[in-house]
Amino acid sequence: MATIKIDGKQFEVDPTDNLLKVALSKGFDLPYFCWHPELHSVGACRQCAVKQYKNEDDTQGQIVMACMTPASDGGCFSIEDKEASDFRAQVIEWLMINHPHDCPVCEEGGECHLQDMTLMTGHTRRRYRGPKRTHRNQELGPFINHEMNRCIACYRCVRYYRDYADGDDLRVLGSHSNVYFGREADGAFNSEFSGNLVEVCPTGVFTDKTLGAHYNRKWDMQNAPGICTHCSLGCNTSPGSRQGILKRIQNRYHGEINHYFLCDRGRFGAGFVNREDRPRQPLVRADNGVLEPQDMDVMLASLKSVLAEAKGLVGIGSPRASLEDNFALRHLVGADNFHNGMSGPESHASLAALALLQEHAGRLPTLRDVESCDAVFVLGEDVTQFAPRLALSLRQAVRNEHHVLAEAANIPKWHARAVRDEGQHFYSPLFMAVPAATRLDDVATELFHLRPARIAELGFAVAAILDDAAPMPANIDEQTRTHAETIANALKTAKKPLVVAGTSLGSEAVLTAAGNVMRALESVHDDAGLFVTLNEANSLGMAMMSDRDVDHAFEAITSRRADTLIVMQNDLYERAQHGKVDAAIKAAKNLIVLDHSMTATIAKADYVLPAGSFAEADGTLVNNEGRAQRFFQVFIPEAPLQEGWRWCADLNRAIGKPVDWYGMDDLIDAIEAACPQFAGIKTAAPSTSFRKAGMRFPRSPHRYSGRTALYANVDVRERRPEVDVDSALAYSMEGYHGSDQPPALMAYAWAPGWDSNQAAITRFQDEVGGHLKGGDPGTRLLKVDANVPDYAPAEPKLVEGWQAIPRYHIFGSESQSAKAPAIQQRMPRAWFTLNEAGAKALGLAAADTLRLTIDGEIHALPVTIDPSLPDKTIGVPVGAHGLMGVRLPAAVSP
C-alpha cells in the first residue's frame, strides 16, 4: 500500500495502479478518453492532465498525465489546480474543433462520454469558427452504424478491436489529421465482439443500429437487470424498453462474469421479443385446423376440462426457460411426469457436465478468472460459436505471458503499449483439441483436429502423463502420446492451468476425459481450474431439476401411458428427429404449448398460451458455473400475455390443485422447499419486500420523460403507475438510486456527471474494474464435495467409419436469437463440411449436394471443403441456419 495526496486529501492506494484509476476509484471526477479499465493506458488523448508536486513544499509542480503516472508512495497531486484544469479545457477544445453539430440527431446523445467530458471540463461554447473536417461513412452491416465525422481520434476502438478482441478488419486509415477509423471496404465486422464498439467508443462514431431503428434516449428507457439467455455463461445485461417495445441490450457490469463486454449474439439477439408473429393471445385449434384467438377465461375453462379428462399428463420443460417456469410446470404435471426438455444426448452430456462440476466445485473459475489463467487446454469446444464470451476471455488468458515478461522488465501492468511491445508474439500456451478450425486458432499454441472420441483419448492420455495413477488409454499411438506430453508439460509448469470442456459435441467421453485431466492436475497443482460450457442458458439448472429427457416424454405418449403433452417454451423439433416428434404429437390427444415465440411445435399445437419472454417475466437461470442469477421483468406486456409460471398457476387452480404462489417470492420458496438442490436461489436477489430508505429501486433514470403525454391520445387521464408484485423494482423513475443499492437490483448505470454506461459504472465498483459494491450478484449453488472419486476408466470408444459431428455458429445455433432480424441477416449458409480426401472419396466437389441419412432421416445440403476436418468426418451445421433435431455425433454412411 502506498500513501498519496490528491488535492490535500490523503489516500491509501495500490502503488501498482496508475493515478487515473486511483483517482476515479476514490470518487474524483477526472476526465479521460483513451484510457479504459480493460484497455489500460497509452497516454494519447492528454485529457487526464493533473499537477504533480515533488513534495508537500513544492508549489510549482508540473503537469503530468494521470493515466501514465504511477500512484507511488508519497505522491502529491492536484486535480483542481488552475493550470491543470485549464490544460484539460484546452485539450477538449482541440478535440471538439471538428466535432459536428450533431448531438440532437446522434444516437449517443444522453449517454455520451464526450458530452460528459466537455461538461466536466467546462467547455460549453465553441470558439472555433473555421471549416470542419468531414468524412464519408461506411456501411458496417446490420449491427453497427458508422458516423465518422464525430470521431475525436482517441484510438479506443482500434485498441479494443485489434488489441483486446484480436480483430483484424478495423483499422486506422489515412495519415496525420486525416486519420479514419474503419474497414478497408464496406461490410459487417468479422469479430464476434464488434458490438462492444458501441460502448467503447466515447462518442457517436459507432452506434447500435438495432436501437436506431426504434430509437429513444437513455433517459427514456425502462430497464431491468437482465441475464443473457443466448448461451450458458449468464452474462449480465441491461435490456431497455419503452412503451412495451424492447429497444436494446446493453452490457451490465458483473465483476466475475462479463465485466465490460458482451458478444454480438447477446447484444443484438433480443429482437425476437418484438416480432409481429409472436403469439400474444391464447390460441385454440378450430375445427378447420387453424389456430384462432380465444378469450383467456374461455381458454382456461376448456383447458380445465382437457386436463380433467386427460389419461395422463406429460410435461416438457426447457433449458431456455427459467427455473420458475419449469418448476411451475413440474408442479402441474407432477415431478414424475416432468422432463427437462433436452434431447437425449444433450441431457446425458449436461448431466455428465453437472457431475463433473460437482466433483470439482471448489475449482471452478469464473469467466473473469479465466483471463488470469496462464495455460489452457480446450477439449472439444468451439468456444467462439458455442459460448462466445468465453473466447474473449481466453484471448486475454493467452496474453498473460505479456504481463509476465512486462513484470520482469519492470513495466507497470497498466502501461498498455509497453506491455504489448515487450510481449510481442509470446503467448501463454493454449492447446485446442477440436474437430475443426475455429475462430480462436490465431492465438492457439497448438491445434489438434480430432474427432470427439479421439479428443477424449488425448484427454485421457494427458491425465495419465500428469499422474501415474490415471489410466492410459489402450493402444495409444505415438503421435497422440507426444501431443499429450506437450500439453501435460505446459499445464504442469503453469501457475494457473485451466481445462475447458463442454457439451457441444454431445460426447460424454470428452467430459469424462476432462474430469480425469482435472483430477490429475489437482494432484500436482493447487490452482488448477475447470471451465465447463453447456448448450443453453439454463441447461445446468434443468440438469439439476430432472434427469428425464424428451425421449422419455415421447415414450410415455407413444406407449399410451399418457395422452396430454404440455410443453413449456420449447420447440420439440429442435430436440428430436422430426419423424419421432410427429409420431408423439400424433399419439397425443392434446398438445398444449406455452411459449413466447412462433415455433414448429406451436404450428402443431391444439392449445397455445402466450408466455412472457425474458423481457416480460422474472426468473432465475443457472449458468455454467452453477451460479443462480435472477433476471427481472423489463416491461409489463399487454394482457393476456403473462409469465409461463403464472399460466401454470392458473392451470393448477383450474384443476383444483392448491398453489399458493401469487408472486415470485412464494414461488421461489416453493422451489427451495421442493428441490433442495436449489437451496440458495432465494439469495440471488433481494426479495419483493426489500426496501432501502423505505423505497423501491427505479427501472428508469430520474429524467424519464413524457409520462403525462405518452398515452394521452388514448386517455388524457394518466394511467395508474404499474405496481411490481414480483420484485423490489419499480416501474418508475422514483425510488432509491445510489452507489449502495444492491447490485442485483441495478437496472441501469448512471451517476451524476457520468452518463455513459462504461464510465458511470465506476461509481458502483469497489475499485475501477473490480467487483460491484455489495458483491457481484448471483448465488453459486454447487457446494464443495469432500469425496474425490477415482479416475474414470480411459475408454474413449473410437469410431472407425464415417461420422457426422455438429458444427455451431454464433448466429443461428441458438434458437431465440435466430429469430432476431439483425441476427438473421448475419446467419451463414448451411453446408455439410468435409475435408478434401473425404470429398474425393465421395466423388463430390464444392457446392455439390450431399444427401446424408442421420437417424433414419435424409438431409440434403450443399458441400463445402474444410481442410481442417479429420478424415471421414462430416460437419453438420446445427441450428436455425442448418439442421434442427439431429442427434450428433452419429455414425453415418454417405
Binding site: D102, K132, T134, L173, W219
Partner: protein
C-alpha cells in the same frame, strides 16, 4: 371621519378615470411575440419540418407533457413520428423552447385554449405544426449539422470542408 370621506371621494373619482381592463373577447390586449402561450412546431426556411425528434424538449419539460417518437426517412433525416403535447398538463414555462436545438418548438402569444373536454387538450403533430419559421427566420439545423441527409451530402453543410480522401498521402 375625514379619512372615511376622503376614501369615498377617491373611489368616486375613479369612476371618471380611463379604464384599465378591456372588454375581452371583443377587445384583445397586445401580447409581445415572446409571450409564452400555445406551443407550435415550426418549419425551416426550406419548408421542411424543423423538429429532429431529439427529445430534449420532452426531457426539459417539468410536467412531462411532451412525448416524441423518433423516426428516420430513407435519406437518414430524423423526424418525429409522433409529437404529442398534453396541454392540460402544460404550464407554459417555455423550457422546451429553450432546450430546442433547432428552434422547432416555439411558444406563441395565443392563450385561448379553453376546452370543455380535457381530451381535446391533447395536441398531435398535425395540430402543432405551422407552415412558417415562427420567431426564428433563416435557421436550418441540417445545414449546420454534419450528418448527410437528403439534398445535403457530407462536406456541403455550412463551414464544412470537402470529405477527406483517406488514400492520399499529401499533407
Amino acid at each position: 371621519m375625514l379619512s372615511v370621506l376622503r376614501t369615498i371621494w377617491m373611489t368616486l373619482m375613479h369612476t371618471f378615470r380611463k379604464r384599465e381592463t378591456v372588454l375581452y373577447p371583443e377587445e384583445k390586449p397586445y401580447l409581445p411575440p415572446r409571450y409564452r402561450g400555445r406551443i407550435v412546431l415550426t418549419r425551416d426556411p426550406d419548408g421542411a419540418e424543423r423538429c429532429v425528434a431529439c427529445n430534449l424538449c420532452s426531457v426539459a419539460c417539468p410536467v412531462d407533457c411532451i412525448s416524441v417518437v423518433k423516426a428516420e426517412d430513407e435519406s437518414g433525416r430524423w423526424y418525429p413520428e409522433t409529437f404529442r403535447i398534453n396541454f392540460s398538463r402544460c404550464i407554459y414555462c417555455g423550457y422546451c423552447e429553450e432546450a430546442c436545438p433547432t428552434y422547432a418548438i416555439q411558444l406563441t402569444p395565443d392563450f385561448e385554449m379553453g376546452e370543455f373536454d380535457r381530451q381535446n387538450m391533447v395536441y398531435e403533430k398535425s395540430d402543432l405544426t405551422i407552415s412558417g419559421v415562427g420567431k426564428r427566420p433563416g435557421y436550418n439545423f441540417y445545414r449546420v449539422a454534419g450528418m448527410a441527409v437528403g439534398g445535403k451530402d457530407k462536406g456541403e453543410a455550412e463551414n464544412e470542408a470537402a470529405p477527406i480522401d483517406v488514400k492520399t498521402l499529401l499533407p
